[in-house]
Subunit: 370 residues, 2 copies
Amino acid sequence: MNIDGAPWRTIWRDETSGSVEIIDQTRLPHRFETRSLTSLDDAAEAIAVMRVRGAPLIGATAAYGLALALRDDPSDAAVARARERLVATRPTASNLAWALNRMAPRVLARPASARAAEAFALAAALCDEDVAINEAIGEHGLALIRRLASERAGDGPFRILTHCNAGWLATVDWGTALAPIYKAFDAGLDVHVWVDETRPRNQGAALTAWELAAHGVPFEVITDNAGGHLMQHGQVDLVITGTDRTVRSGDVCNKVGTYLKALAAQDNGVPFYVALPGPTIDWDLDDGVRQVPIEERDPREVTHILGEDEDGVLREVRLVPKGTAARNIAFDVTPARLVTGLITERGICAAGEDGLLGLYPGAAFDRGAA
Amino acid sequence: MNIDGAPWRTIWRDETSGSVEIIDQTRLPHRFETRSLTSLDDAAEAIAVMRVRGAPLIGATAAYGLALALRDDPSDAAVARARERLVATRPTASNLAWALNRMAPRVLARPASARAAEAFALAAALCDEDVAINEAIGEHGLALIRRLASERAGDGPFRILTHCNAGWLATVDWGTALAPIYKAFDAGLDVHVWVDETRPRNQGAALTAWELAAHGVPFEVITDNAGGHLMQHGQVDLVITGTDRTVRSGDVCNKVGTYLKALAAQDNGVPFYVALPGPTIDWDLDDGVRQVPIEERDPREVTHILGEDEDGVLREVRLVPKGTAARNIAFDVTPARLVTGLITERGICAAGEDGLLGLYPGAAFDRGAA
């Protein structure tokens, strides 16, 4: 998408240096900085500390991480080590394993001297595919917004609540949950976005706010606590979130707090949709609440926060009494019964195995090729 | 309650100077400072900027605010002006109006020269009454915790989730939601508290964490987003919150986000109780969601935050892109259907008119004397 009128992706290869370039999202919204990844270590660190985040983008970064590893050592053992290392960086999103599972056999089929080049080519193709998937999600979501906007009784802007950042910063471009919003805005629809700040990492207040502002989409930041009240008072027409992993039953794992918004949406009759690229489906799991591994991160992300002071200096401050214990659970699972529908690159379906298999026939038996 | 072993209340009169002293809660948890209120202006400002907060404590502060006003001008007009000024500081809690409605006729019945002294005496009595009410809530809540702890299947600590601060800092002493927890801890029960940080003002992470630590009660701070996940995984045995206003139907208005926790509690079969001093009941209203006025505060409370840097300096930092629009809705209403029971100073009842009238017979016709 555009920043100051110029098109950007979140990850790309610098053809001159051969390094992989990313936007360092730990510095947003206060600083816009890019960063070079030149090794497997760099890629793993970028994923672990969330310089890149969002299920599709960490899949793409892992793909490039494998390529960088093979540039240094193209052996079978190096492929295995790189896969193990990258999958361990973040446990919840399934895109990491998906990207690596898809690449590995194709890379291993090549002679050692050709493996790095093959991996870079596959990573680049995966990025292009992600952009196409997300744009297709945007088109299907746009049709949904048009329909819901025409059916509702009220007037004024069509108000969409979103949690976390599932925008272009979470993908290679376009985003998942925000792709329909960009499409709607670009098509001239009167939309307004309620942006959940999304504690503790504030991906909403920091990243979603930043990218919506850069594109000119009207929005207001709210606390994660406020969405229920807004829904009780008819101020939300639609909820769209992304997902880090959707299981075949339609249970959706996403940033912690998504489940609470889904409960409020159900209690108030607000449509709750999840935008979902095919590669985030985990066909092996049936019960999201019991089976999806939920990442627990450093409590310091809860007890401390980075912001910009009035002099423009970035400062980390402590929010709690010194020595306070905290827990930092990063994701939760929204049961399929609370999800109105899934917006995929192949269309919209009910949140359930029948719905998913209708769009991805045979996919449960062909994981690598989804 | 105790700070470093010494007993404190949140508000008291300095008999030497005649001023009213408070703990300045905007400085906690980083600084413990008291502040003198010497005029109506001081009292109104302290309530409006939340140097004092919590329904019972703002009622007590309003009572002293009226007394301070009468010290300067004991006329009938001054009483009316002070009431109007104080009620306007915070629109949601009903304790403000309750305290002033109760005091005004008694003050006006006295000759002008005796009015200030009468008001100070009534304010002091109101504070003592608040302490007694809260301790009684603690005893009834303790019995509830004992029963639930004996009935549950699991072992380990009995885990209680609370939202916002309804501890002694929200009252004159003891607290409402935390009074049962202090009683349980003091009685030797093995309790653990999940403390919702409670954005945007972080009353949980700042105030509840501070007072639980000062008393030695085990707890961990979590983001407001995390409670649903914990309940899905059987890690919450009980939710207790306070309330700013409960209407006769049993709908409960409390800090924004309470409704989301109540939905999650219902979805997971977790008991959801609200601790409730009689003076927070608004017998005039029936429909909490439609009728309780919900305060909307300065968006800067969402976009900026105060914390302590590594050098111990208090700094306010901005969390969002410069110029970002935000909304700051301070309260929400939890419908009675989601509330397992109300813990009052007179016992525990179902959340509804029958339950409330069972404990407060005739109260609906005698508001001032509740």
